[in-house]
Symmetry: C2
Subunit: 128 residues, 2 copies
């Protein structure tokens, strides 16, 4: 029997891009990637689980930081080649730099300007 | 002199993924891709301009439908490998299927279910 996972148009690396949006505020927290296994695990466990392209492994977001993302909904687009998930962000910090979200760099007058403050030092997030 | 465009970590196809969010409502409208040229054109013209991977060409969103996206802000993430743009969506229709946005398919009980109504038939959008 065909699985809902078969409907996704996985890219040449067998991944799909994922937009991660915070429930309620609708703030975009991250842009990440999922493999088939990570999407299935995300759906079954309710915890956002990504594919790390740099480390080449499954990665339960929050596993080392405590900043889990509890998934409220999973949507796909008209081409089934991108996902949008809405999450509850544990600890209010989604970015590994210690910021609320990853999109803290804004294009202003031909320059990239950082606009969000660091809420917690990365060394304090990961040294536990 | 280095350009702000050089800071982006373009992928192996020289593209970057783009999250398109509506200003005000914060609704995610689309997930798209930009080349260096399309990002530069987007910034200079103020109209969202993407790279069509299927047609392999630059594509000013709204050129054939009238549903332009007027860009309010451009942000990048901590790795400079994804963009988030906020836009004013002309005509209230972002999806080529005639829906408000592209993420109208939701995962419910192991099935993908369409949840958004068609506001305008695609033939009525593109036959002008």
């Amino acid at each position: 029997m065909k699985s809902w996972l078969d409907k996704i148009n996985w890219n040449e690396d067998s991944l799909v891009p994922v937009i991660v949006q915070e429930n309620g505020t609708k703030q975009i927290l991250m842009h990440a990637w999922m493999s088939r296994d990570s999407l299935e695990k995300t759906y079954k466990s309710g915890k956002a689980t990504y594919w790390s392209r740099s480390r080449q492994n499954l990665w339960v977001k929050g596993e080392s930081s405590g900043h889990y993302q509890f998934v409220e909904s999973i949507q796909t687009d008209c081409d089934y080649d991108a996902l949008l998930i809405t999450v509850k962000q544990e600890g209010g910090i989604a970015c590994h730099t210690g910021r609320y979200h990853c999109f803290f760099t804004k294009l202003i007058d031909n320059n990239w300007i950082e606009t969000e403050k660091i809420l917690k030092k990365p060394t304090d997030i990961y040294d536990k």
